[in-house]
Structure formats: C-alpha cells, structure tokens
C-alpha cells in the first residue's frame, strides 16, 4: 500500500499535466473530445492523490518507521488520533494534504459546473489542473513524504506535545480547506479573463467557492486562536505573529470580495476590482504559505527552512505575472457600465468597507514583511511589534465596525434623509446610551468605549432588521414569532445569514475590547498557603494551594499544582496547571517540557492559571484574569454558522419554483444553480 501510494503520486503528476494540456487545447479548439479527456485527467489525478494519501495514512497507522516522515512525527505509543493527524503535522505530509484537498475541490468544481458554462469550463479545469500540478510536483520533488531512511529506527520521535491537542488535530485541516479553496475562484477568474466572459456569468460559482474558503478560514483562524490560548500559555490568543498574519490576509481580501461582488451583481460596477480581489486572495494564500515555509521571516511558529520556499516563490511570481498580463490585456472588457451616484449610498458604504479591509490587509502585510523590506532598503533588519499592528488596525477596525452597521441598511444609489432617519435613529440612540452608561460605570478608556458603543449600534441595526422581518411575516402570514424567525432566515439566507455573520463580528469586537482590562498576578505558594487578587470587575478572589504533586501518565511525566479558588467567599471548582515531560515507548524523554494551563471559563472572564516552575515545595504561579474571552469563541462560531446559512444551497423544489435567490442578476441564475 505504501509503495502504491508512492507510485500514485508520480502518476498523479502525469495526470495533471495531461489534464491541463488537453483542457487548454480543447478550450482553444472547441473540441469536446479533448475537453472530456481533460476533465477525466483531472478526476484521475485526484484519484491517484487519494491513493497516495491512503498510502501515507497506512504507513502512519502501522508505524512504518522506514519512512522518514513517519519516524519524524509519530512514535509507537502515540494515541491513534494523533497518528492520523500526524498526516498534516509536518511539512511533507501537509503538502500532500494540500494536494488532496485541492484535487478534491478541483474535481468537484469541474463536476458541478461542467454542463453550465461550456466555454468557460475547459479553462477552469485546465487552470485548476495546472495549480494542482504545481502542488504535486512540489510534493514529489521538494518535500516527499514517502522518502525512506537508510535504516529502520526502533521508534519514532513522536509528535510535538504542543500539537497533541484536539484543536491542533483540527486547526490545520480547516485552515488548509480555507486556503486551498481560494484556488478555485482563481481558476474561474483566469478562465473568465481568457475567454472574455467577464459579465456576471462566472460570479455565481466564484461566490460560492469564496464562501467555502471564507467559512473554513474563519473556523481555522478561530480554532488557531483557541489553540494558542490554551496551549502556548502566554495568556492571549493573538500576537500578530507572521504565521497568524498569513492566515488573516486571505481572509481579509476574501471578505472584501464577498461584499464587493454584491455591487457587481446589483449594479455592474467594480469589475476590475473584483477580479483583482479574487486573484489577490489566492496569491496571498500562496504568499502566506511561502512565509511560513521558507524561513525568510522570523516567527516562533516557523517550520524548518526548506526548498519548498523556492517552489512557492517561483509559483507566486509566475501567477502574479500571468495575472497582471491577462488583466491588462482585458482592461477594456472590464469597463463598468454604471458609476457611483452619491456618497450617501450603499455602494459608497460597501466601497469604504472594501477600502478599509484592503487597508488592513495592506498594513498587516507591510508589518509582516517589514524586516525583509528594511533589509533591502537599509541593509539592516528592522522589526515592528504588536503595537504597530494595534496602532493601525484598531482605528481601521472601528471604522469597519461602524460600516458593518451602516452598509446593509442604507439605500442603494442615493439615500434620502428619511431613509437614514428611519433606519438609524434607533440603533444610533442605543449606541450612544450604551457608551454613556459604560462611561458612568467608570470606564474611561477611549477605544473600548468606542468599540462597545459602536457594537451596540450595529447590534441595534441587526435586531431592528430581524424585528421588522418577523413583524412583516406575522402580519402577512399570521405566523408565531419562532416560526416567523425560522422562515425569515430560511427564505432569505443570503441576507439574514449575512446579519448573523455581522452579529458574530460584533461579539468578536466587543470581546477583543475586553482584553484591554486584563490583569495579571505572579505569586509563589506552598501547600495550604493562599493569595488574594482583585479581578477587573472589582471582585475579590482568593486562591488556596493544594500543593504540588507528581505522577506518570501514558506517555508523559506530570508535575501538577492545584488551586482552590473562591470569589467573594463563594467556592469554585479546583484549577490545575501542569508541567509535562513527554517520553517515548522506551521511557526516553522527548521534546522540551511543556506546560498545560488551567482555565476557569466564565461568561464574563477567564481565570487563567500557569505553573511557571517549582522550587522545592513552592509553586511559582501566574494568574491572569482575561475578560470576555469566552465571547471570542462564541462570536467565531456564530460567524461560521452565518456563513454556512449563506452558503447552504436552496432545495431543489424551491429552486424550481422561485428561481435562485431573487437578489441575483438574471444572467447568474443558470450558473449558480
């Protein structure tokens, strides 16, 4: 099976080359036989990547340590779940994983759309096959998971303990599912540019694939934040590390695209911009991978430097040049018939939303690449810290939050004074009241006040929309409130799904602001001793130590401390934090010791306990109070749910009855169905 897997990878390489060549030739000559053969080549390419993956999984599960990859990332005593997830635990495997997802997406895109756009599809298939060809070639030549060792070790090194966490088993695949999905819209964009089919035709499919990418990226990023928070032990979830930034960049441009595409659908504007965003999102995914894999930028997350970096850099440059040439050849076809009519209009609000999102993306990219840029220009590496990102992105983020409330409610083309009063009087009042209330409660920090004020405003607009929608259904159909709510969302998935995403954003921003009030205590405790701390809400906590204890578990030695917390005299469940030393099956220590933090999660705050070390029977402990952290996860989940609702295909029956979502332009109906 392992040998089959290895060979399959080579065959997949040939299949992709075949598919790309035949699809392009077929598209050019308009010959159906070539096109069909190209499609089959892609399916076959995907099939062989599946076989290769099955081969690697077999090797991992049977602990075949003759493969370098298996010996490097697993050990005989590793739990099965982590043997499975070791597939994407290292570079070579994650490259193959990337091929697997891309192959699946590309085959699916071809399968679903092959009858709809006969002119466009061969080029889509060909471009996707070409991208897949690149990934398979990189895997085969630069980072092959089937590489063998010259001897067979008795046991493998095991998986890094920090990756032995359920979130870490899920986080990379989700992120990859998101990253890789940006390739499909890229394929459509290139195909549309080549065939000059630049009207709404390609947008339906592209929008759906962008949503797929967006939902997975959202989930992947939030899960990554959660992993960093529970596993890395520094008490936060985001530190503007290059690797984190790399995942945020395509999310930002992808989000911008999902908004600007509505303007093209409704008003035919922004064609160049939309093509640019689609391509940029894909290129940022590639650049992100390059950053994380090449070692050009110092990051605590960095993978080992490897030749994969060169491959990605080459591919990035080629794709960039190809797109720039194509777009400049098609500038005339990308002219928009309509123009902006008024500053106070939905178009303008969306344009500003795009401007801000792209501005944030640019500043994040700039800050991430600054060490390289400064080395080119001035000869020394200069880095910028977290405060750079916060200084730029907090104000931009607040502007974005305000637009989240304004954009969906303001009228198209030109908003009247009456429209503005009707839509915004209530929510604006709510925002001002909320900010004033918080001010009287003693909160004086500007940014948190603004965040919570604006968040209340946006929440007001969303609630008002639901309220009006439910009210309308109740009078029209006489439905009860729960039924009206369900039908309202189900019948207008795009609109109300979008509001649910916005609600998630509001919660997320409000939660971010909470971290401005975090508190930290460093204490040393013997068994029986206790310490007091005041949390950000002014409540009095005591922590009584139960002492340190040592024990052995399946694959590790553990030193643990237990604290008994009380708040205002009320006892709470015990909190523990551990230092772990992992061992392989022969009892030898593997990796450095790792820390397991203890978290007491409440809705208003997390109490975050870290065992820093021990002197004899004294435990050195850090206690953090992190306000509102739980809401980061709630907000993230809500965003993903909203995204799924938007994405969910309408049922066949309803599609036939009512056509696709009424908001779509008529030409797009056939494509997106």
């Amino acid at each position: 099976m392992i040998l089959v897997g290895e060979l399959s990878l080579w065959i997949a390489l040939l299949m992709c080359a075949w598919s790309a060549t035949l699809s392009f030739a077929g598209g050019r000559l308009r010959r159906t036989d070539l096109i069909v053969s190209g499609e089959r080549g892609l399916y076959a390419g995907f099939g062989f990547v599946v076989l290769a993956s099955a081969g690697l999984w077999t090797a991992l599960l049977t602990s075949d340590f003759s493969l370098r990859y298996v010996a490097s990332f697993t050990s005989a005593n590793l739990p099965v779940i982590y043997k499975i997830s070791a597939f994407w635990g290292g570079q070579a495997g994650s490259m193959l994983f990337w091929c697997l997802i891309l192959g699946g997406y590309a085959a699916l895109a071809t399968w679903v759309n092959r009858r709809d756009n006969r002119v466009l599809m061969p080029w889509v298939t060909g471009t996707n096959a070409l991208v897949l060809l690149f990934f398979v070639a990189t895997t085969v030549f630069a980072s092959n998971p089937f590489e063998r060792l010259e001897w067979v070790p008795a046991d493998g090194r095991g998986l890094n303990p920090q990756l032995q966490n359920p979130a870490m088993a899920l986080h990379p695949p989700l992120l990859y599912l998101g990253y890789v999905a940006t390739a499909i819209p890229f394929g459509f964009a290139i195909a549309a540019l080549i065939t000059r089919r630049l009207d709404a035709e390609w947008l339906g499919a592209v929008r759906r694939w962008s949503l797929v990418s967006w939902v997975f990226l959202t989930l992947g990023i939030v899960l990554g934040m959660w992993w960093a928070y529970v596993e890395l032990g520094w008490g936060g979830y985001w530190m503007w590390d290059p690797v984190e930034n790399a995942s945020l960049l395509p999310w930002l441009t992808g989000t911008a695209f999902l908004h600007s595409i509505m303007i093209q659908e409704k008003r035919g504007m922004l064609r160049k911009w939309n093509v640019t965003l689609v391509v940029t999102t894909f290129l940022l995914s590639i650049l992100g991978t390059f950053i994380t894999r090449s070692g050009v930028i110092q990051s605590v997350h960095s993978f080992a430097q490897s030749s994969v970096g060169h491959w990605f850099a080459t591919f990035f440059v080629l794709a960039l040049v190809a797109t720039v040439v194509l777009v400049s050849m098609r500038l005339k076809d990308l002219e928009s018939p309509a123009q902006l009519e008024a500053m106070i209009s939905r178009e303008a609000a969306f344009l500003y939303n795009n401007l801000v999102l792209v501005g944030i993306a640019f500043s994040v990219l700039w800050g991430t690449l600054f060490p390289i840029l400064s080395e080119w220009v001035r000869g020394t590496k200069i880095t910028v810290g977290e405060s750079f990102f916060n200084a730029v992105n907090v104000p931009l983020g607040l502007l974005l939050l305000a637009l989240t409330g304004i954009g969906p409610l303001i009228a198209w083309r030109r908003a009247s004074v009456a429209n503005i009063q009707r839509q915004f009087a209530g929510p604006a009042t709510l925002g001002v009241i909320a900010a004033a209330a918080l001010f009287t409660l003693g909160i004086r920090e500007l940014y948190p006040l603004m965040t919570w004020g604006l968040a209340s405003f946006v929440a007001g607009t969303i609630l008002q929309e639901f309220w009006k929608g439910i009210g309308a259904r109740r009078t029209m159909y006489g439905e009860g409130v729960p039924m009206a709510l369900v039908r309202l969302v189900a019948r207008n998935r795009r609109r109300y799904g979008g509001y649910i995403v916005h609600a998630g954003i509001v919660i997320l921003f409000a939660a971010f602001a909470g971290m401005a009030f975090r508190k930290e205590y460093d204490v040393t405790l013997r068994a029986g001793e206790s310490t007091t701390a005041i949390d950000p809400f002014g409540r009095r906590w005591t922590f009584t130590s139960e002492g340190l204890s040592e024990f052995k578990a399946l694959n590790r030695d553990v030193l643990t401390v237990a604290l008994r917390p009380t708040v205002d005299g009320q006892p709470l469940p015990i909190l523990t934090s551990e230092k772990r030393q992992h061992r392989d099956s022969r009892g030898q220590p593997t990796f450095q010791p790792s820390t397991e933090v203890g978290i007491l999660s409440q809705q208003r705050q997390d109490v975050y306990l870290v065992l820093a070390g021990a002197i004899g029977d004294q435990a050195e402990i850090r206690i953090n109070f992190n306000p509102l952290v739980a809401w980061v996860w709630h907000g993230g989940i809500l965003m993903a749910i909203g995204g799924l609702i938007v994405m969910w295909p309408p049922s066949m029956r309803r599609r036939r009855q009512e056509g696709y979502v009424a908001e779509l332009a008529p030409q797009a109906v056939a494509v997106s169905a």
Binding site: R68, A71, S72, F73, G90, Q91, W151, P153, R157, G158, N160, Q162, L163, G233, Q298, S299, V300, H301, S302, F303, A304, Q339, L340, A342, M343, A348, L351, Y352, L355, G359, S363, W366, G367, F370, S374, T380, K381, I382, T383, V384, G385, S387, F388, A391, V392, P395, D522, T524, R586, Q588, P589, T590, F591, Q592, T595, V610, A612, G613, I615, E620
Partner: protein, 158 residues
Amino acid sequence: MHPRTKFIIGGVVVLGTAGYLMAGSIQDTAVYFLTPQELEAKVLEDPGMRGTGVKVGARVVPGSVVRDSSGKAVTFQMTDGHATYQVEYRGLIPDTFSDSVDVVVEGRLGEDGVFRATTLLAKCASRYEAAPEGYSKETREGYKSAAPAAAGAEPPTP
C-alpha cells in the same frame, strides 16, 4: 462635485490616515533586529546603541544556561559564532527554551556588556518539524548503538 470625486477624496482621507498611523507607529515601535556580530559593530560605531532597545537573534551557547530555580529568571550566553553576549532575562520562560536553541531576545545592552532581555522567544527548529537532520546524524548513532540516552533527548543538530 461629482460623487466619484467625493468618494476618492474620502478614500484618500481614510488611506492617508492609515498611512499616517503606519508611518507614525513604525517610528515608535520599530527596533533593529540584529545578530550579535552586527550589534557589536553598531555599538563600536555609536556607543549610544548601548541602552537602545534592540532585538537580537542568536543561538544559545550550550551549557551556559543558568536557571533561577523559581523558573522565572534565567541567564545564558548567546552567540552567532562571531560575537557572544551574556543575557539576563526575567519573566516566564517559554517551554521551548533550552540549551542550543535559536532565540530572539528583545532588550537593551547595558554599560557592563550584559544584555538585559525583556522578552525571550525560543525558536526551536524541531518545534513543528522534528528536524530530520537530527535523525541522520546523532539520533541514528543512538539507535545503531542502541544507546538509550540518544533517542529523542538529543537536541536537533544545528
């Protein structure tokens, strides 16, 4: 005025503000990211560099690590093969920190030539990639001779 012109003016204001914030905060937060050798050269050139906040990326000298038993302070030497500095650090020590890993320290070089770090990032090559080189050299010997001590305990080779 044409709405498009107005929009462009608005856009310029937004992006201008963003650019101004970026430029301003780069001035405030940018720090040199040097190797020990470059730090030495900079200090020779301009003694004012002592006491200026810098980031240094270097390798820990094996055997030089002295941990305070509390687990919250450490001293060690860092080097790039050309220059070596003594480093003092107070704070939580990352799990990945050990002898002979790559570190990035941020802090100031004191008049006494000791680097006082306020942040310590340990970048272990094997953190997510279990350095295959470690296999082909030391670890391999370890397995061959079946000497139990060698297996995973060895730090990956540079």
